[in-house]
């Protein structure tokens, strides 16, 4: 898109997008402040009374709107399912070597760094209700740690070390576990998130989300590493 010779289509696109932006900016500035009590304030008040949960954002997506989180996990599983459907594409010639980078420095540092990264991911997933973090961030961090290990020792050995085939079947059972928690919280007349029983349920939910995201993100990263190549 040369600035000196803009074609008619480009001028039209720029004009439309500029009008669109000006409308939204005008709307933002002209919006009146209503002194309304937003529902976020109600959440803060109710969650303040529950001593189990200190991270109020977790209280919303892990407790009151857990139905949304179930669908979010389903979206993640669909993305991973799509990757597994297409996983028998032919590879390019360049990616047939098993080790990505051949260097002693990478080998040595990866083998002592990856447990630390893995442990950090596990801690973030586990303590979602006490501080920022959560199952998704923890799972992706753990998956990236395994990718660092794969750079050093080759991606095929990872499959044997981590029981990859078994993990892929376990992933779908975790989804059913999360569905069971949604059903219990919606159908049973008692509040399952209070007291010691509440802490147990919260920790099970956190660890299952972390494990599922870890397996899924490793699958996605492994696929894109295996199928790298030229145009």
């Amino acid at each position: 898109m040369n600035i000196n010779r803009l074609s008619l289509k480009e001028i039209y696109v720029l004009a439309i997008v500029v009008i669109f932006l000006l409308l939204i900016i005008y709307a933002i500035f002209s919006q009146q402040q209503t002194g309304l009590q937003r529902v976020g304030g109600l959440y803060l008040k109710k969650l303040g009374a529950n001593p189990n949960i200190r991270n109020y954002v977790y209280g919303i997506y892990g407790m009151y709107r857990f139905y949304d989180t179930l669908f979010e996990l389903l979206i993640f599983s669909t993305a991973v399912l799509g990757i597994t459907i297409f996983s028998d594409l032919e590879e390019s010639r360049e990616s047939s070597s098993s080790e990505l980078i051949e260097s002693h420095v990478v080998d040595a540092s990866a083998s002592f760094l990856y447990p630390i990264i893995f442990l950090l991911g596990l801690y973030l997933a586990y303590s979602a209700h006490l501080g920022p973090g959560g199952g998704f961030a923890g799972g992706v961090i753990a998956g990236t740690g395994v990718l660092l290990l794969a750079i050093a020792i080759g991606a095929d050995r990872i499959g044997q070390l981590f029981y990859e085939q078994f993990m892929k079947k376990v992933e779908y059972l975790i989804l059913l576990l999360v569905l069971a928690i949604v059903l219990c919280s919606a159908v049973l007349p008692i509040d399952i998130y209070t007291g010691n029983r509440g802490t147990a349920v919260i920790i099970i939910a956190n660890l299952s989300m972390g494990a599922k995201v870890f397996i899924g993100s490793w699958t996605i990263l492994h696929f894109f590493v295996k199928h790298r190549g030229e145009i």
């Binding site: 696109v13 997008v17 109020y56 919303i60 594409l89 998704f136």
Partner: protein, 120 residues
């Protein structure tokens, strides 16, 4: 102050939209889509906040906490964008492997020719 920062994030959304329509390279279109999605999330968090809010975690005292609801919603949104990015990259990769070009016009003409020539 928050109005000013929300305006900046809307301008980034506009830049992403312009990139999505006007770029000819398929990978640039995908990156522009990612810019649009991420700056939408930024806009959502910024427009509801006020200056001087503290993080909604139990140990920071009950004085004037930020609204936790949009932050919970955008956590979901970030994961959705991750899934969309992964699947769009996958499909683009399959398409580029067949046609060996990244230009959207050439891909479109090749696709139409393939559809007409293939026997039903």
């Amino acid at each position: 102050m928050t109005l000013f920062t929300s305006t900046i994030s809307i301008l980034v959304v506009g830049l992403g939209i312009i990139g999505l329509i006007l770029k000819k390279n398929v990978l640039m279109k995908l990156l522009s889509l990612n810019i649009v999605n991420t700056s939408t999330i930024l806009f959502f968090v910024l427009i509801v906040s006020e200056q001087g809010d503290r993080a909604p975690i139990g140990s920071s005292g009950l004085a004037r906490m930020a609204d936790p609801l949009p932050q919970a919603l955008v956590l979901t949104s970030i994961v959705i964008n991750f899934g969309v990015l992964a699947l769009s990259l996958l499909f683009t990769m399959v398409l580029v492997k067949r046609y060996h070009t990244l230009d959207i016009d050439k891909i479109e003409t090749s696709v139409k020719r393939d559809y007409k020539e293939e026997s039903p």
